[in-house]
């Protein structure tokens, strides 16, 4: 869960937060230096703790002539979670650009898509009128290497009029050398931030402190212009009865500047203030309720507010001033002081804080404090019990950091399920399997009250793992018990059980959907529907989106293209409301929407959704959906007549299919299109070999029979093509849907046409149109190259004139293939005999008629046509004509007599 106060998200305002900040002095030279730096792309302010980085940024932001939009992010302490960092960054950018009005803030997801997120931040930055300055403070706290790498990517591709200022204690590993070479990187370092003697004087004046020139010089010398030292000194000097004596004692002391002044400041506070500071310093942020709890008395709110007003290294994190944090330097000093003076209190305070965070449902903080209290077994149980909720909250990286914090050696078996969850979320499948085995063994020996929940957790994770591996065979049966509700004695258990159950239903329904078996389809729908309903009920939009996306994907097995498309659009709309429009969770709906658009001939729209699916799948999400992505891209290319590109995509799909055990149906779809594409490219040898490699069951399927027919047509053997599709047309061959029958009709029509039987060809085309009518499916006509077949169909004889017109529009309009194919290597030269035959291809003459015209045998004509197809790298007559026109071969053919 990302709380708005974890990272500061507001624009710093001068004068805000009481009298204290008004003591900022005008460091004009430095502000001017920052102004100059801001002319470039990136400014890095790199200087140690307390050197005045944040104060400088405030002074600059409040200064005149600033760009209107300023987004400020302060990185949370020890930020190891890339997703939380990016969400916070997107949040401040959207706030600055006004993009957040009305829309829900983007929320975390279990499978975070970092590149897509960086892209979104860039897009928001680019769209802001007038430019944006993005400030990232405390960048050294960002310890996620992933996040740093992605941030480098962002910094090196900033849109115009966007400037980024990074403030950090030490140089951070960012690959910015290109920016430096281009003169777009400015640096402000510790030496630049040091106060001058004049500025020291101004700071004291601004704080109402009267000190002699000698005193100022002494103070300046002792602190060496260190900003935090001067600020601390000013606080001790304000109201000091004898400022000169304070400075003399300070400069006479050998203690370090930081310790002397911090101890001095702490000593000057009343006892209850000192006590509050010591007892709350273990927290990264504190509010009055927590402070009252840890100090054991009321009145903390007044103290926190007055500390901030006094500029005493305490600042509020929200405009309402409910949450506060201590300056890091001050907090670290207080923590040392607490451990030294009240060592026995440290675990007690951590435990009290943990209990408070548990009550607030802030699990990660609760686990952190339980660990810090040294209660490792409790921490392990707490973390394991909440691992599903944390995963759903998108905190996999935080979980990983929490697991790592356990001391090595003394292992807790509960953690196996946490490790498995994290590994799975981050794509380490073998490690996940190993940890799942440990978790399963542990579940068997767990006390009965926890056993059932552990078993459900393990089974749910196993399903998810099996799906990621594409190995669903057998897993589903074992997991059917997930269908029944998890119940527990207390309300909390039931709530946790609901999270678990909704995940289980999603995983089960998803696994059933991806086996694509007709028998599993109703179960898949029921489980996914129920999962979506439960998710909505318990307020888990991520799960709801996940279930609906899978439901959209699974829909086509039982429902029409229109229904499927509507479901996909609904799922996508819900995902977009949560800012997950390009997250992996919505990918099944994205790819299915793309596919349905391609099937209905809306190639450009389909391509745009395909592109979005590609963005959503940038993170590794398993072979099955990647297969579908390649397959859909393949049929799009095939529909556009780009057979080479289609071959590439379909080969990739075929390879992934060979890796999948449980999704045979998905694999065989890719196979038939691959074989057909090979044949259309004239690679009939390869196509035949692929055909021969299939077992009898697959070879007998309607889809593969169609592929065989495409080979026969490419080989110039239309009679054999007719024989191949006969079983599909008479209903004896098993088919996956009407689409297969439609395709068979078209192939039969093409074969009849080759054989000179225009009447039979027209009848087949009319039957194909009838099958296409209800869903208005256009792709099969494009893939089979049926333009000529349809054009020969007398308009008055078809009952589908409107659809026919649409199809012909697509077949002629959606053909950028013409330009595309010019980039192909030049076709092999045709022989004079082939050129003579080529001349007749644009006509309606059948092969026997061409043979008659040329006074050669039909076999010779067929052999020539085969050879022409191979040399022109096409698969059918109309493509051959188009290609021949592009290559200006028809003119040459005309001269050859």
């Amino acid at each position: 869960m990302l709380s708005a106060v974890e990272d500061e998200q507001r624009r710093p305002q001068p004068g805000e937060g009481g009298a204290g900040t008004s003591r900022l002095i005008d460091r004009g030279d430095l502000v001017a230096a920052l102004d100059r730096a801001a002319a470039g792309k990136v400014t890095v302010i790199s200087a140690s703790a307390g050197s005045g980085k944040t104060s400088l940024l405030r002074a600059w932001a409040g200064g005149p002539g600033q760009p209107g939009r300023l987004a400020v992010l302060r990185v949370q302490r020890d930020q190891q979670d890339a997703q939380q960092f990016w969400l916070a960054l997107l949040g401040v950018v959207r706030q600055a650009t006004g993009a957040d009005s009305g829309a829900e803030p983007p929320a975390a997801t279990p499978d975070f898509n970092a590149p897509a997120m960086a892209g979104r931040v860039l897009a928001e930055l680019a769209e802001a009128p007038g430019g944006v300055t993005l400030v990232i403070d405390d960048l050294h706290e960002l310890t996620s290497p992933d996040a740093l790498a992605q941030l480098t990517g962002l910094l090196t591709s900033l849109p115009p009029r966007v400037h980024v200022i990074l403030a950090t204690r030490h140089d951070v590993r960012l690959g910015l050398h290109q920016l430096r070479l281009a003169g777009e990187l400015a640096e402000i370092r510790a030496a630049d931030l040091r106060f001058s003697e004049r500025e020291t004087r101004e700071l004291l004046d601004a704080s109402g402190i009267t000190l002699s020139a000698a005193g100022v010089a002494l103070l300046y010398q002792r602190t060496e212009g260190w900003a935090a030292g001067l600020r601390l000194a000013a606080m001790s000097l304000a109201g000091h009865p004898d400022p000169e004596r304070f400075v003399a004692e300070f400069s006479g002391s050998d203690r370090t500047v930081a310790e002397y002044l911090l101890a001095e400041m702490l000593d000057r506070q009343p006892p209850e203030v000192q006590d509050l500071l010591l007892r709350t310093c273990l927290l990264d942020r504190v509010n009055s309720e927590l402070a009252d709890l840890l100090t054991g008395r009321p009145g903390s709110e007044r103290i926190l507010l007055s500390l901030e007003d006094a500029n005493a290294f305490v600042e509020s994190l929200d405009p309402e001033r409910t949450w506060f944090r201590y300056h890091h330097l001050f907090a670290d000093f207080l923590r040392l002081e607490l451990r030294r003076t009240l060592p026995g209190q440290v675990p007690v305070l951590h435990r009290r804080a943990a209990e408070w965070f548990i009550r607030q449902g802030q699990v990660a903080d609760a686990v952190r404090h339980t660990q810090a209290a040294g209660d490792w077994a409790d921490a392990a149980r707490l973390l394991a019990g909440q691992s599903f909720s944390l995963m759903l909250d998108g905190q996999a990286q935080t979980m990983q950091a929490l697991v790592r914090a356990f001391p090595p050696g003394a292992d807790h078996p509960e953690l196996a399920v946490v490790r498995a969850t994290v590994d799975l979320a981050q794509g380490r499948l073998d490690e996940a399997a190993a940890h799942l085995a440990v978790a399963e063994a542990h579940a068997g020996t767990a006390p009965p009250d926890r056993r059932r929940r552990l078993q459900v957790a393990v089974a749910s994770l196993q399903l998810s793992l099996a799906r990621r591996r594409g190995d669903l065979a057998g897993v589903i049966e074992q997991a059917r018990f997930l269908d029944s509700p998890v119940t527990g004695p207390s309300g909390e258990d039931i709530a946790l059980g609901s999270d678990l159950r909704a995940v289980a239903l999603m995983n089960l329904g998803t696994a059933e959907a991806w086996t694509l078996g007709l028998s599993d389809a109703p179960d898949a729908e029921r489980h996914l529907r129920e999962g979506a309903g439960l998710a909505r009920q318990i307020g888990r939009p991520y799960l709801e989106v996940g279930c609906l996306a899978q439901l959209g994907f699974a829909s086509l097995v039982l429902h029409s293209f229109a229904t499927t498309r509507r479901r996909c659009r609904e799922a996508i709309a819900l995902a977009e409301r949560h800012g997950w429009g390009t997250e992996p969770v919505i990918a099944p709906a994205l790819i299915m929407l793309a596919a349905t658009l391609i099937w209905t001939g809306e190639f450009d729209k389909g391509e745009r959704w395909l592109q979005r699916t590609r963005q959503a799948l940038q993170t590794d999400t398993g072979p099955d959906i990647t297969l579908l992505l390649h397959q859909t891209a393949g049929i799009l290319h095939a529909g556009r007549g780009r057979h080479h590109e289609a071959l590439e995509e379909l080969s990739a799909a075929e390879y992934l299919g060979s890796q999948l055990e449980g999704s045979r149906a998905l694999a065989s779809r890719a196979t038939r299109w691959l074989i057909a594409t090979q044949a259309r490219l004239g690679l009939t040898g390869e196509a035949r070999a692929a055909l021969a490699a299939l077992d009898d069951q697959r070879a007998g399927s309607g889809e593969i029979r169609n592929a065989r027919a495409v080979i026969c047509l490419a080989e110039g053997d239309p009679a054999a093509a007719l024989a191949a599709v006969a079983g599909v047309l008479d209903g004896t061959a098993p088919v996956q849907g009407d689409v297969t029958v439609m395709e068979a009709q078209l192939l039969a029509g093409l074969a009849h046409r080759e054989l000179g039987d225009q009447r039979a060809a027209s009848q087949a085309a009319e039957r194909a149109l009838a099958l296409a009518e209800s869903d208005r499916l256009i792709l099969p006509f494009a893939m089979t190259g049926s333009a000529g077949l349809l054009e020969a169909l007398p308009r008055h004889q078809t009952a589908h004139a409107a659809l026919l017109a649409d199809i012909l529009d697509v077949l002629h309009g959606a053909s950028p293939a013409a330009r595309q194919e010019f980039s192909l290597p030049p076709a092999e030269e045709l022989s004079p005999g082939e050129l003579r035959v080529l001349r007749y291809l644009p006509t309606n003459l059948s092969r026997p008629e061409i043979a008659g015209q040329l006074s050669v045998s039909p076999n010779t004509v067929s052999a020539h046509i085969r050879s022409i197809y191979a040399k022109l790298q096409v698969g059918d007559r109309s493509s051959a004509v188009r290609r021949a026109r592009e290559l200006r071969l028809l003119a040459a053919a005309g001269r050859t007599r």
């Binding site: 290497p145 030490h170 002391s253 930081a258 101890a263 890091h328 330097l329 670290d332």
Partner: protein, 80 residues
């Protein structure tokens, strides 16, 4: 691809723990010294010298503490 931070010793095994001397400007009081429990302090003039046996992670931990506490690091040396 997940970028990895290169190991500070360029991929070799962590070297064995060694004695280090760390010189800090100013005298460290009880509070600051409690941040370095593994090191023995001595005052040398206006400086504090900390010595102790540290492996690599401990050494980087000490450096991080020096940074976090705003201490002025003057010298770091491996002894012997």
């Amino acid at each position: 691809m997940r970028p990895h931070l290169p190991a500070p010793d360029h991929g070799r095994m962590d070297p064995a723990p060694a004695r280090y001397m760390i010189r800090i400007n100013g005298h460290l009081g009880a509070t600051m010294l409690s941040a370095f429990p593994a090191m023995a302090p001595q005052h040398h003039g206006a400086h504090t010298v900390l010595t102790g046996l540290l492996d690599r992670p401990a050494l980087y931990g000490v450096l991080a503490a020096i940074e976090a506490l705003g201490l002025d690091l003057l010298e770091l040396r491996k002894l012997g």
